[in-house]
Amino acid sequence: MEMLAMGKYGVYVWTCFGLTFTVLVTCVVQARRRHRAVLREVRRHMQLTETDE
């Protein structure tokens, strides 16, 4: 427990590490979401052009 307290700086240290890993996970989620959105967009575009022809 004493190790986790980080002296009197626990709040600062843990907030920084927590924030960092939250941002990293957000980056992964955003990248995956973007990929799926592009694939959906391609399929939508295909359907539109199919009805044109």
Partner: protein, 250 residues
């Protein structure tokens, strides 16, 4: 050599190649970050001046380093795209921007949280290191806003590339700010005359974090470039086939 470059720049080939590299980058980056986090928090001894607060260095420095590296990647890719009219290079530049913005936000936020107990303030207006890093965030956001505001993809590429190149002067300003002007911010820890100013058991976790973050950035960048390539090639037959195949899986 030229055939190699031509093949690399061909979108379907690059798409496949990027897909192969992503798991490797993640497989190298994740253990490095795991080790760096563990050793940084629990193995490295407390700093004799800062106590345990110095451990923030293990996320702050990699974030700040990546915020500048991502900008260099963005500016160089934008320059290549502008000069050689290479679409893939523009795709790389556009993909680096949101990641760079996140790392810049992280560098500013962790720096601010570190500054509170050490300098007694969250933020100091007029401090050269802090201000130039904030300008970096605005450059990323401006670059993304400019791209989003122009519908024509080719025009968006060219206009945003000019912005990226002009903004590149800010990167050396950030780096040298602590030497050129007096700043609250401490001087360089790693790259300085006389070698790193930090002991081994403090240094190795930091190096692991910097390299680990770099590999994770590489993996994230390739993930984004893949999407960007698909979007740009959305009328191509290989992309349509890929989208149809993924419809069943999703």
């Amino acid at each position: 050599m030229w055939t190699f470059f031509h093949k690399l720049a061909s979108p379907p080939h690059f798409y496949g190649l990027a897909g192969k590299f992503i798991p490797w980058f993640a497989a190298i980056g994740l253990p490095l970050v795991a080790y760096g986090t563990w050793a940084g928090l629990f193995i490295a001894p407390p700093d004799y001046q800062q106590g345990d607060a110095f451990r923030i260095i293990y996320v702050h420095v990699p974030a700040a380093y990546l915020s500048m590296l991502a900008y260099m990647v963005m500016a160089i890719a934008a320059g290549i795209g502008l000069i050689w009219r290479m679409k893939l290079a523009h795709a790389v530049a556009a993909s680096a921007a949101p990641l760079g913005a996140w790392f810049t936000f992280l560098a500013l936020a962790t720096g601010s949280i570190w500054g509170r107990p050490m300098w007694g303030t969250w933020w100091e207006w007029g401090d050269p290191r802090l201000t130039s890093e904030l300008i970096l965030l605005f450059l990323y956001l401006g670059y993304m806003a400019l791209r989003a505001a122009i519908d024509d993809g080719t025009k968006a590429d060219r206009a945003s590339a000019v912005l990226a190149l002009v903004g590149a002067v800010n990167v050396p300003i950030i780096h040298f700010s602590v030497e050129w002007w007096s700043s609250l911010h401490q001087g360089p820890t790693l790259i300085r005359e006389g070698g790193p100013a930090i002991a081994g058991d403090m240094l190795y976790p930091l190096l692991a974090m910097i390299f680990g973050f770099s590999f994770l950035f590489g993996a994230l960048l390739l993930m984004r470039v893949k999407s960007e390539v698909l979007y740009r090639e959305r009328r191509a037959r290989w992309v349509r086939r890929l989208a149809t195949e993924s419809a069943g899986a999703a």
